[in-house]
C-alpha cells in the first residue's frame, strides 16, 4: 500500500484490533513514552537502585492492567454507578476521620480488617469528576446558579474532609477535578470572575483551618532562606539542583545534588529536580512534551466524546492530570508551596500511579465505546 504516513497512523489507530480491545493506542503510546522517561530518571534518582526501578515497573504494570480493564467498561455503567460510588467513598472518608490510621499527625488510611490499608481520598480523585459529570449528564448546559451551588456543595464536602485529614495536596486535586467538570459544563464567566475576586478572602479563611505544619510549609515557601537547614532545605536544594543543571544538564548519573544526597526526596516528590540537574532545561522541555502529548490526547477525547457525561469526565480527568504535573514542577522549582503532590507516573510510589492509570482507563473507555456513526 502506498499511503501517506499520517493516513497510515490513522489506519493504525483505527485498526479493528484496538477497537475490539478498547485500547486508545495514541494515549497508550504517550503514556508508555512518559513511563519510559520516568523510569530512566528514577534509576538515577534512586542512586542506581535496580530493585526500586523494578518495583516501579511492577506498579506501572499493575496500573496498566487496571487501565485496560477499566477501558473495557462502557461509560454508561460508570455513569450509573457514579452517585453510588460517590456516597460510598464519602462514607469511607467519614470512616477515615473516625477510625483512620496514619503517621505524622495525619489520618489518611483505612485499615481493612485482615487486609491491606487503603486511601479513600485517592479514590475520591476519580469519583469526584464522575459525580459532577453525572449531575450534569441529564441537565441542560450551561448550568443555572442553583445547579452551580449544588455542585459546589458536592465538591466542597469531600474536599474539606480530605483537607481535614490533613492531606492538602489530595484535597486540592479532588477539589480541582470537580471544579474542572463545572468549568467544562459551561459555568458563566461572571461566576468565574466573581470567584477570582473572593479568592483572597477564601485564602484567609483557609489559613485558619490549616495545621501548623501546613502553615509552616507556606511560610517556608514564601521565604525558604529563613530556615535553610530546616524546612527551607528541600526547596533550596531543589532550586540549586535545577539551576546548576543549566541548559543541557550535567549528564546522566552525573548530578552532584542528586547523587550526593543533597537533594531530599529525590526519587519521590522532587524527582523533576534530578531530571533538571542531569538533563538540563532541554530534558525538562522534552518531559513536558511527553506530558503535553498525554494531555492533548485527553482533551481531544474530551472534546469529541459522545455525551456530556463523557465530555465532562474526560476533560476533568485530563486537566487534573495536568494540575498534578503543574503543581509538582511548580513546587519543586519554587513558584508554588510544597504541598506534597507527586510528579504523575514519574515519581516513585504506588497509590497515585494506580489512580492515575485508572482514570486513563476511563478515558480509553470513553474514546473506544462510541457508537459508530
Amino acid at each position: 500500500m502506498n499511503m501517506p504516513y499520517y493516513e497510515r497512523i490513522i489506519a493504525f489507530t483505527n485498526a479493528r484490533l484496538w477497537r475490539l480491545t478498547h485500547v486508545d493506542v495514541l494515549l497508550l503510546m504517550a503514556l508508555l513514552l512518559l513511563m519510559a522517561g520516568g523510569l530512566t530518571i528514577l534509576y538515577s534518582a534512586s542512586g542506581q537502585d535496580v530493585e526500586m526501578v523494578e518495583r516501579q515497573i511492577f506498579r506501572l504494570g499493575v496500573g496498566m492492567v487496571i487501565c485496560l480493564i477499566l477501558a473495557q467498561l462502557p461509560p454508561k455503567y460508570m455513569r450509573r454507578a457514579s452517585p453510588f460510588l460517590f456516597v460510598v467513598i464519602v462514607a469511607l472518608l467519614v470512616g477515615v476521620l473516625l477510625f483512620g490510621v496514619g503517621a505524622k499527625g495525619a489520618q489518611r488510611w483505612l485499615q481493612i480488617p485482615g487486609g491491606p490499608r487503603f486511601q479513600p481520598s485517592e479514590l475520591m480523585k476519580i469519583v469526584m469528576p464522575m459525580m459532577v459529570a453525572w449531575y450534569f449528564a441529564n441537565r441542560p448546559l450551561p448550568p443555572s446558579l442553583k445547579e452551580i451551588v449544588t455542585v459546589l456543595v458536592i465538591i466542597a464536602v469531600p474536599s474539606l474532609m480530605v483537607a481535614k485529614q490533613p492531606d492538602l495536596g489530595t484535597a486540592l486535586l479532588v477539589g480541582v477535578s470537580g471544579i474542572f467538570a463545572l468549568f467544562l459544563a459551561g459555568i458563566g464567566w461572571r461566576y468565574i470572575l466573581g470567584a477570582a475576586a473572593v479568592a483572597p478572602a477564601a485564602a484567609y479563611s483557609l489559613w485558619h483551618v490549616m495545621h501548623d505544619y501546613q502553615r509552616q510549609r507556606v511560610l517556608t515557601f514564601l521565604n525558604p532562606e529563613s530556615d535553610p537547614l530546616g524546612s527551607g532545605w528541600n526547596i533550596i536544594q531543589s532550586k540549586t539542583a535545577i539551576g546548576s543543571g543549566g541548559l543541557y544538564g550535567k549528564g546522566y548519573l552525573e548530578g552532584t545534588q542528586a547523587q550526593l544526597n543533597f537533594l531530599p526526596e529525590s526519587h519521590t516528590d522532587f524527582i523533576i529536580a534530578v531530571l533538571a540537574e542531569e538533563f538540563g532545561m532541554l530534558g525538562c522541555a522534552l518531559l513536558m512534551c511527553a506530558y503535553l502529548l498525554v494531555i492533548a490526547r485527553g482533551l481531544y477525547i474530551a472534546a469529541n466524546a459522545e455525551d456530556n457525561y463523557a465530555r465532562l469526565l474526560a476533560g476533568s480527568i485530563t486537566l487534573t492530570f495536568f494540575v498534578y504535573m503543574f503543581v509538582n514542577i511548580g513546587m519543586v522549582s519554587g513558584i508554588l508551596p510544597v504541598v506534597g503532590v507527586p510528579l504523575p507516573l514519574v515519581s516513585y510510589g504506588g497509590t497515585s500511579i494506580i489512580t492515575i492509570m485508572a482514570t486513563f482507563g476511563i478515558l480509553m473507555s470513553i474514546q473506544t465505546h462510541k457508537r459508530a456513526r
Binding site: N138, P140, L141, P142, F180, F183, L184, A185, G186, Q237, K239, T240, A241, I242, G243, S244, G245, G246, L247, T256, Q257, L260, N261, F262, A276, G280, M281, C284, A285, M288, L292, I295, A296, L299, A302, A303, N308, R311, L312, G315, L319, F322, F326, I329, G330, S333, G334, I335
Partner: protein
Amino acid sequence: MGKHQQVFRNYRQEHALTKRRVIVAAIFVLLLVGVLMARLFYLQVMEYELYQTKADDNRVMLVTEPPPRGLIYDRNGVVLADNRPIHSLTVIPERAARLPELKALLNPLIEITEEEWADYEDRLKDYRRPYQSITLKTQLTDEEWSRVSVDLYKLDGVQVEAQLTRYYPYGEAFAHAIGYVGRITSKDLERVDRLAYQGALFIGKTGVEEYYESTLFGKPGISKVEVNARGRIMSEIERQNPTPGQNLHLYMDARLQQYAYDLLGNYKGSVVAIDPNNGGVLAMVSKPGFDPNLFVRGISVAQYADLRDDKRLPLFNRALRGGYPPASTIKPFMGLAGLEYGFASWTEQYYARGYYQINPNGRRYRDWKRGGHGWIDLERSIIESVDTYYYQLANKMGITPIHTFLSKFGFGQSSILDLNGASSGLLPSNEWKKARYKEPWYPGDSVNVGIGQGFMVATPIQIATANAAMAARGHMYYPRMVQTINDMPATFEDNEGVEHKITLKDQRNWERMVVAMEKVVTDAHGTGRRLQGTEYKIAGKTGTGQVFSLADDQEYDANSLDKRLHDHALFIGFAPADDPKIAVFAIFENGGSSAKPADLTKALFDAYLYDNYPAEYDYFKEQGR
C-alpha cells in the same frame, strides 16, 4: 427525567459549549506550561552561575593533609628524629554515638584513660570543621589495632587512621638537644597558622624541634574533595600534595653525643663540645635525660609527675639553663682581662701565700693550696690554678673591667643562636648589685668573682662558647645546632650576632694564654697533668666549684647529703691546641675533683680527632650515610 424533556435540549449547542471550554482549558494548559518553562529558564539559564556555585559549595570541601615532618640528622647522616607510621583511634563526633554510649562501646575493647577522654572532650569543644575526626588515642599497639579493627563495623564514626609520627631512635642522651614534639594544644595553635596545622597532631615543643618548627613542618597538602550531604568524602577532585618539611643536618656528632652522655656515668652534669672554627655544637649533653618518645606517645600524668618530681631533674636542660659557678675555668679569661687593662703582665712576679687579704687583719680568702704557691707569674697562676693571684688581680681591677671583658665572650647573655630557652647566667656589675640588693659593690665581691665564684653564674653552653673563642684565638662564634637545611647552609638574618672578633691590645696574648693552658697539662705541677701522653696537644683548665645549691632542691635528705656537699668538678679544654678542632666543657655535679671532667674531655678528643671509640659505638657508624 422523561424522554420528551430531552427533545428540547440543543445537544449540538451543548457540545459546542464544552468544546469551547476544552479549547480555553488547552490554552490555559499551554500558558501554564509556558510559566513553568519560563521558571526553568530563569533558574537554569539566567541564574545558572549562582546555582552552579551553590552546588559546588555543597559538594566541594577542602581537606588539609599534614606534611611529613623533616628529619633531623647528625653531621654524619645518622637519623636523630625519624618518622614512623603509627595507628591512632579517631572519632567523627557527628557520626559516632554520644559520649556515654561511645565510652561503653569502646572501653571493653581498648584501654582509654580518663585523661584521653578528657582531652577528647576538650577537643570536641574547640573550633573544628564539621565531620573532621578527632584523635582519641594515639600509638595503638598492634594488638589494640587488630582488636578495634575487628569491631569497627559496629562503631559508627570510629576509625583507625595511620599517620607518620616522630620517633627518636637514641632516646634520652639526645632529649635535651633535639627536643621533642608533642600533641598540639590550643596554646600552641595561638602561635601558628591554624589552617596549616589543621589535621596535624604534633608540634615541636623543645630543643631543635621547637626552634625549627616552621622549617621542619613543611606545607600541608590541600585536596579538594567531593562530599555527600552527610560529609562523607566520595572522591578527590583536585590535589595539592603536601610539601614535606625540610631536613636538618646538625653539627652534632651522634656518636660523640652518646659517648659524652655515657661518660658522665651516674653523675648529673653537662658536656658541651663545640667546633671552634664555626661554633657548631658537636655535642650538648644534659644528664640525666629522659625518653622523648614518651611525649610523642602521650605521656601520662603519673609518668610526667615522676619525671617532674625526680630530684635529679631529668627534665631540666642543664646545658642551657644550669647555673654554675665557672670556678677556676674563668682564670684564663680573667688573666687576659688583667693583661688587657694593664693590671697584669706575663713577667710580673707575685708571691702566693695560702690566703689573700684585702686589708691586713681582714677576711682571709683561702687558696686551694694550704701552704701557698710561693713566687709565681701569670703563666704559672694558670698552670697551678693559683687562687690568690686572681683574688688580688680582681681586687685591683674591680668589677667594671671584668664585666666589660667577659661580656665579649658571651657571659651574661643567652648566646646560642638556634635554641630557645637558654639562660643568660649572671655576669655581675655595679648596676646589677644596686638593682638587686640595693647595696654597693664591695671589693670582696670582686675577689670572689676573680676565681669564678661569688655572684658569677654561667651555663655550660656559655663556658663552652668562651672556651671555643679562646681556642679560636678570639674569633668568637655564637654556638649553633644546625649546619644545613635541605643541604643548604643554615643562615641567620642577624649576621652581626653570629660571630665577632675579640681584639686584644696585644694579640700575642692569645697565643701565650693558650700556651699556659697547654702547660696545665704538660707541666709537672699542672692541675691537668693526668692528661699527659697524647699525640696531640691539649690546652685545658680545671675547675672545682663550691656547691651552688639549686633553689628548688633544698629538701633535707640524709642519704644524698654527703654527695651533694661535694664540689662540682669542671674542665675546659680544646685540641689540638695549635689548630683546635674541638673545644669541650664538662661539668660533673658534685664530682669532687676535676679529674673526672678532664678524663672525659680527653676521651672525647681521642674519639673525635682519632675516631677512637669503644667498639659499642660502631653502630652509629652503620646508621650514617
